[in-house]
């Protein structure tokens, strides 16, 4: 493929960031090759990242649409006695809606969001490398994701479309088990398309495994001269920890789903008590994957926050080693806390107590991160750009999500709060309030690098305001409703909870509006955005030493890495509106460092 690349414009060869006068637009990864096939068969990690972005965000829109649909159904309770048949149909539809929302958001959005989009695009560039270690495996992972995601969403949607519009779609059953596929409901009772849905999740797992494997090999092998393990940007530590979980936990889900499918097809008991199986074993296996998966969702998000904090505080990260090691600690802890999902499922009191204790322990590395971010902010030269505001929103919401997690890790409190809206609020604060905020923070932060265009700060912040207010309006009342006994997964409720539900629904619409504004901001940037300088934020990691957008092989000369957060000598150039590393800067003061 390299044979097709045109010669680079001469003016580009010696272009220093300080003198951005280029005679012609230099070749970049977007213009390097033309045609749809050059995208489908590309091995370029940047194009793969962009394709992931388009796909993952489409499925985010699908899952989001059904979140709004759910909240709309919950605006008023359904009076069962008025029309039982109608109420039953409505309940069924509600079950399909929340299953679709949960499954799509978990498997198709949050798990791949930060690693597959930002990780693919940024990780090799942070390493000063030309690509990931195995580019073809990377492309395969994208194809598997595409196949699995289309199949999975088809399965989940078909029955809903049939129920709502009366369309006869082959295989139209949808799924009503929730994203957790709990047995025995999923193994013998549910009328839903359990086996096809399980197959879809199984396929998607491979995409996740292959991406994780690729990142592990890339981080081990492709670090440039001067980048020791403890000189890696913290985003890479976060992705590395995530990849370990992806590689070690996902196969357990794969085999569990395979056993579930086999049980359903052959009718031989493995997890179904009626057939001699053990449903609690399913829960053990399921959460052995799905609890670590929670950290697949949050760890890369934390990595984004570390990068954004440095760039917009103009200050070296505070406590580098602690943040790096806390990522590894969270990854390790993640494998030994799954039992806290099962306090009411029938565990021995001893194992429940051990799981509870270990769960509390996770709070330590999480808090280490939060305090170190705050330490980075302290006395920094803070700029409240859109990515920075999202990052601050992350810290705020993650703190609420994390602390309410401690309530649920305490056995006695959990027994009261489990299966209520308190849980729903808790994990949305962590999954959505934290991961989505960090994802958007990272997307705004790296957007100029990815597409070479600036976005509108004003509209970015307007969108943020709606998302932040809407988010809290949606989920904060759910803490209250939950602690007052509103059970989760119910299609209807007693009127005493109506005020909370209406607040939530209003919040969902507000948040939806904010996300649409964010989407339009990005679209406007692509169409009419100001040209982005190479380093619009003054970031010190290697990806900012490339052009915006990067050239096909990322760097003209392989950059040499030093301390990733050495901001010394990075100066603002009013002529380009960007920053550059001034080689003639005065020597660093002696007090600098971590």
């Amino acid at each position: 493929m390299s044979a097709t690349s045109g010669p680079l414009p001469l003016g580009f060869q010696g272009a220093a960031p300080a003198k951005p006068t280029r005679p012609a637009e230099p070749d970049n990864y977007l213009t390097h090759e033309k045609g749809i096939l050059s995208w489908i068969f590309t091995l370029d990690h940047k194009r793969i990242g962009v394709m992931y972005m388009v796909l993952v965000l489409s499925f985010f829109a699908l899952g989001g649409f059904f979140a709004i649909a759910l909240r709309t159904m919950l605006w008023s309770p359904v009076d069962f006695n008025a029309n039982p048949a109608h109420a039953k149909a409505s309940y069924d539809l509600y079950n399909h809606f929340f299953t679709l929302h949960g499954a799509v958001m978990v498997f198709l959005f949050i798990i791949p969001a930060v690693p597959a989009i930002l990780g693919n695009f940024i990780l090799p560039m942070m390493l000063g490398a030309k690509d990931v270690a195995f580019p073809r495996l990377n492309l395969l992972s994208l194809w598997i994701y595409f196949t699995g995601a289309v199949f999975f969403s088809y399965v989940l949607l078909s029955g809903i479309l049939h129920a709502v519009f009366g369309w006869n779609i082959p295989g139209g059953w949808s799924l009503d088990t929730g994203w957790t596929f709990y047995t025995p409901y999923s193994s013998s009772l549910s009328q839903g398309a359990v086996v096809p849905a399980v197959l879809g999740a199984f396929i998607l797992g491979f995409s996740s495994i292959l991406t994780g494997l690729n990142f592990i090999a890339s981080i081990h092998m492709l670090r440039p001269k001067g980048m020791t393990w403890f000189r890696m940007p913290l985003f890479l530590w976060a992705i590395y920890s995530t990849s370990i979980i992806q590689v070690l936990a996902t196969p357990v889900l794969a085999i569990t789903l395979l056993l579930l499918a086999a049980e359903r097809v052959f009718g031989v008991g493995i997890f179904d008590p009626k057939l001699g199986g053990d449903p609690v074993l399913f829960q053990h296996f399921f959460w052995f994957y799905s609890h670590p998966a929670v950290y697949i969702m949050i760890l890369p998000a934390m990595g984004v926050i570390s990068e954004v904090m440095v760039a917009f505080s103009r200050k070296h990260i505070f406590g580098y080693n602690f943040i790096a090691m806390s990522s590894i600690a969270i990854a390790l802890f993640s494998f030994v806390v799954w039992g806290h999902h099962m306090f009411v499922s029938g565990q021995s009191p001893l194992s429940a107590a051990v799981f509870s204790l270990l769960t509390f322990a996770v709070a330590i590395p999480s808090a280490v991160k939060v305090f170190n971010w705050l330490g980075t902010l302290y006395q920094g030269d803070i700029r409240l750009t859109t990515p920075m505001l999202y990052a601050m929103g992350f810290i705020f919401l993650f703190t609420i999500g994390g602390l309410t997690g401690l309530f649920l890790g305490a056995m006695s409190v959990d027994i009261m709060l489990t299966h209520t809206y308190f849980i729903v609020a808790h994990f949305h604060y962590v999954m959505m309030g934290s991961t989505l905020f960090a994802f958007l923070s990272g997307l705004y932060y790296w957007w100029p690098k990815m597409f070479g265009k600036m976005y509108s700060e004003t509209w970015g912040k307007v969108g943020l305001l709606f998302v932040f207010v809407g988010f809290n309006l949606t989920f904060f009342p759910q803490f209250v409703a939950g602690s007052r006994g509103m059970p989760r997964r119910y299609a209807s409720y007693p009127v005493q909870y109506q005020a909370f539900h209406r607040m939530s629904t209003a919040g969902a619409y507000t948040m939806g509006t904010g996300l649409i504004i964010a989407g339009l901001t990005f679209a406007q940037s692509l169409l009419r955005g100001k040209k982005a300088p190479n380093n619009p934020w003054g970031g010190s990691t290697l990806e900012w030493e490339s052009t915006s957008p990067p050239r096909h092989d990322n760097f003209e000369h392989t950059p040499v890495a030093g301390d990733p957060y050495d901001l010394h000598g990075i100066e603002y150039d009013p002529a380009t509106g960007g920053w550059f590393r001034n080689p003639n800067a005065a020597p660093a003061p002696a007090t600098h460092g971590h």
Binding site: I209, A217, V252, F285
Partner: protein, 250 residues
């Protein structure tokens, strides 16, 4: 680009790597990471099997007694010998002896295929014995007259090598837990066999590449990492064989 790097003689190194050594180390690391995925993949089903085996030791023992342990033993030998040829193949590749490499790869393929043939025979005999869960599971062992001559031949061979076995099987009533045992047996050996098929496909691809002169002492990481995979699949069988076939005495 990576595409050219693997197919042309002069650039063996993909553009993201600095030299052959780095590329080789990366692919080896990648394969080890993949094998750790595989360990957890098989590990989970071993745990599930262990949980139920401890819960119903007698029924699972009855299940073990119905398996053709001697076929499993032969297969173990076949697979271990195939691993020997694989190791010799990797050694040949590392020393640049391409003809020896191809010969060893072909022996590995032959033995891998033989394993699958024997496994298939076992599956067939288990079908005749009414041991296929969910589809053709019978609560009692079918009488000898109901079986084909092929199956009867194995039956009498079994009685000949292990006279004690005469007293079991015919009269005992099977239990749902035994069906569950067979379920695990088929899933575990089935997944293993799937890995074997993938391994044989990879080996065939290696032979094709080797014939086209793609490998040398300098560049042979595909041989090396396929070797790792093949040995891993063997190792899984080394665990499957005793826990399924050999845990049969009270």
């Amino acid at each position: 680009m990576a595409e050219d790097a693997l197919t042309s003689e002069h650039t063996l190194v993909a553009h993201q790597f600095e030299d052959v050594a780095q590329q080789r180390e990366a692919s080896t690391l990648g394969m080890w990471a993949f094998l750790s995925t595989e360990i957890l993949f098989f590990g989970a089903i071993f745990v599930a099997y262990g949980v139920y085996r401890l819960r119903w030791p007698d029924q699972y023992r009855q299940g073990s007694l119905e398996l053709k342990w001697y076929l499993g033993a032969i297969n173990t030998a076949v697979l271990l010998i195939s691993s020997f040829f694989m190791a010799m193949g990797v050694h040949a590749a590392a020393t640049g002896q391409i003809k020896t490499l191809i010969r060893n790869l072909l022996w590995t393929i032959v033995l891998g295929t033989l394993f699958l043939v024997i496994k298939g025979t076992e599956y067939y005999l288990e079908y005749e014995d009414g041991l296929v869960p969910g589809v053709a599971f019978k609560m009692e062992k079918p009488s000898e007259s109901a079986q084909s001559g092929f199956a009867r031949a194995f039956e009498s061979f079994e009685h000949w090598i292990s006279p004690v076995a005469k007293n079991r099987g015919e009269t005992h009533r099977r239990s749902p837990q035994e069906e569950q045992f067979m379920m695990f047996y088929f899933i575990m050996t089935g997944i293993h066999a799937t890995h074997m098929v993938i391994g044989i496909a990879l080996l065939s691809w290696l032979v094709w590449m080797a014939r086209r002169g793609k490998f040398s002492a300098e560049y042979h990481n595909p041989v090396e990492i396929t070797g790792l995979y093949w040995h891993f699949v063997d190792t899984v069988w080394v665990f499957l064989f005793p826990i399924l076939y050999l845990l049969r005495n009270p």
